[in-house]
Symmetry: C2
Subunit: 146 residues, 2 copies
């Protein structure tokens, strides 16, 4: 492994671990939602239609099917979502409240630790880097993507 690849990988790993644990800790402390909860609720809220099929969640979030199934079961038990026949999921009023409250907290944390720290050029560079890596991964996994 080339030394600069190794160095960058180490730095990236450190950012990845610390950044996400910090954001998730803040989110959990102030709203009681996990990252998984947030991702689901955010996706449901963004897709304006009242009915979202399970499979749309799976593709949109790139989750394993069993992970989604377990997560949706837990979230239904907590009253955040409802499952309708036909593998259709929708937000409950309670879920809508929670995601609205959580978004402020989440976006503030993303801005504080991420957006405010990087220049416009750095943001653009990181977006390109991410897209390239994701494209490379998609080559090897033609079945998960479409």
């Amino acid at each position: 492994m080339t030394p600069d690849v190794f160095t960058t990988w180490q730095a990236y790993q450190r950012m990845r671990v610390l950044l996400n644990s910090q954001i998730n800790r803040e989110l959990g402390r102030s709203t009681g939602l996990s990252e998984a909860d947030y991702d689901i609720l955010f996706f449901l809220e963004q897709s304006a239609e009242t009915s979202v099929r399970s499979v749309a969640l799976r593709c949109g979030l790139a989750w394993e099917k069993s992970r989604l199934s377990h997560q949706l079961r837990r979230m239904e038990q907590r009253g955040l979502i409802e499952k309708a026949p036909g593998a259709v999921i929708h937000l409950t009023d309670r879920g809508r409240e929670q995601i609205a409250a959580a978004r402020d907290c989440h976006e503030a944390a993303v801005r504080r630790y991420f957006g405010d720290v990087l220049s416009a050029e750095q943001l653009a560079a990181l977006a390109t880097i991410s897209d390239q890596v994701v494209a490379r991964l998609s080559e090897d996994l033609p079945h998960h993507v479409h």
Copy 2:
């Protein structure tokens, strides 16, 4: 949240999730080690001294203490490490074999999906970005760092 921050955050999240799940899947399939196992073993092997204190692992990996405790217990049960009195940890022969075998697999995956995809400039830019974000996080957590 500024649109470009949001866009970059989304792209970064996608890379983070897909890249690490892919590397961990390959690592687990071909060696039976998890990412956590690998991080511990790698750290132990790199620090040439035969005796590594628990707290060095915690600082080096930026892990929570309970996480480390659980992980070390599980790894001791599998014969990968040994705990000596005084919170001292060392590799077993078995652990040394496993990390040697795993490193090839892990580094190949990092090169394939990460190092080979990015230019030298991109690698340098990502290292800088990571360091800046980590520095920002460290400001808010003066107690975890030294």
